[in-house]
């Protein structure tokens, strides 16, 4: 008797399953709200595909073990590591991998104690709070300080390693930091490196992407570039990128704040009498060209 449950040729509709899972909505939302970040979006897309296939396997009574989802985000300052990590919990929860869409964001201070015996309970408390969701460890390399023998970071790493291995379906750990220092951290902690399944590098943004990011930020703040200002800003970015201490999206945000400052002062100086809503909302090219990047070729600040 041809038992359909054991028949290898049994079929399920992949397209229908994809539609029903609403994964496309998640991916579209990500595309809209985060500019660039191609490797990140690719990895999320791949994870979503795996989830879908896992669900179909379960329907066919095949085993589907939860994959290891621990990740490491590396990249230069201002490339969106923390932002994406905070979004990751929402995405993973929507995809059904974690129970709660909550992130517990910690740095070394929250995990490591000041005296012997202090570290283990401190780390365990943080882990208990984060269970079911995502634990985001920013600047993870500070956990390990080989030069200082009295440092208790190694104890915290050990507890983390154990939980990362044994409670894979309860907790997702995301580390983040600058690439060279994370590489050194992983070299001295091979256990940690082997437990991280996804190493994602955040590339620097291109000038076009930075202008789009600026426009998105302005939209949120309810400002807008005038057409001249948009070209001036692109000019600004291209010059600023070559100067030292460029922090990608963070530099863009700071530049926009300074532009708003100049706009406010310009309105004060030149506008006597009534001001229209449009004038309050628009950044003109003067507000951008007044920057020291144009005049002296030096950065205003980061």
């Amino acid at each position: 008797m041809n038992d359909p449950n054991t028949n290898d040729e049994k079929a399920v509709d992949l397209a229908a399953a994809f539609r029903d899972s609403h994964i496309q909505e998640v991916l579209d939302k990500l595309d809209r709200e985060l500019i660039g970040l191609k490797p990140v979006k690719t990895r999320i897309r791949e994870t979503a595909a795996l989830l879908l296939v896992d669900r179909l396997r379960k329907q066919m009574n095949l085993s589907a073990g939860a994959p290891s989802l621990h990740m490491c985000f590396t990249g230069n300052p201002g490339t969106g590591k923390t932002t994406v990590a905070l979004r990751m919990a929402e995405i993973l929860h929507h995809l059904g991998y974690i129970r709660r869409p909550d992130v517990v964001s910690v740095t070394r201070d929250d995990l490591v104690g000041q005296y012997i015996g202090h570290t283990a309970p401190k780390t365990k408390e943080v882990l208990k709070k984060a269970m079911g969701g995502v634990l985001f460890i920013d600047e993870a390399y500070y956990l390990y300080k080989p030069e200082n023998e009295r440092d208790y970071g190694a104890e915290s790493i050990e507890i983390l390693l154990q939980i990362m291995e044994n409670n894979r379906d309860d907790l997702v750990v995301i580390l983040a930091g600058y690439k060279d220092r994370m590489d050194k951290f992983f070299q001295s902690n091979p256990g940690m490196s082997s437990r991280i399944a996804h190493h994602v590098d955040f590339p620097d943004y291109s000038p076009d992407e930075l202008v789009s990011i600026a426009k998105l930020m302005l939209e949120k703040m309810q400002y807008a570039f005038s057409p001249d200002a948009a070209t001036a800003f692109r000019d600004y970015i291209e010059r600023r990128q070559s100067l030292p201490h460029f922090a990608n999206a963070r530099s863009v945000r700071n530049a926009l704040d300074r532009a708003r400052l100049r706009q406010a002062n310009r309105l004060f100086a030149t506008q006597l009498g009534e001001i229209t809503k449009k004038q309050l909302m628009t950044l003109e090219s003067d507000d951008i060209r007044a920057s020291r990047v144009f005049k002296d070729g030096v950065a205003d600040s980061a």
Partner: protein, 146 residues
Amino acid sequence: MMTNTGNRVTQGQFSFLPDLTDAQITAQIKYALKNKWAVSVEYTDDPHPRNTYWEMFGAPMFDLKDPAGILLEINNCRKTFPNHYIRVMAFDSKQGVESPSMSYLVNRPKNEPGFGLVRTEAEGRNIRYRISSYATDKPEGERYGK
């Protein structure tokens, strides 16, 4: 009629039922967390029903949202004291309640020797009765064998 024919101690909730599985314990903890109660783990090897103050295993766990962390502590306690009674309590701090609202056993010693009736003669040939656990005949720590 004996309602408890074995020697299983019946203190707290669910004590007349077979031992709770980890999945059932997780469900109970989830219920406690949903009600915003603080969950704590306690152990003892003295099974007398009037022994209400058991030893605490770690501090009570406030402000948690997921049962997985608490299950970790329970399993830790089971590993440290495999032959003790271990119970999970949930404390309701709402004004007017301010007392434990849940308490159930999650671990028992393998052999529970049960209780005996002790008769004491008082003045005038009156008899005072009390129950005494056979386990407490031995000193603390040696009551249930290795």
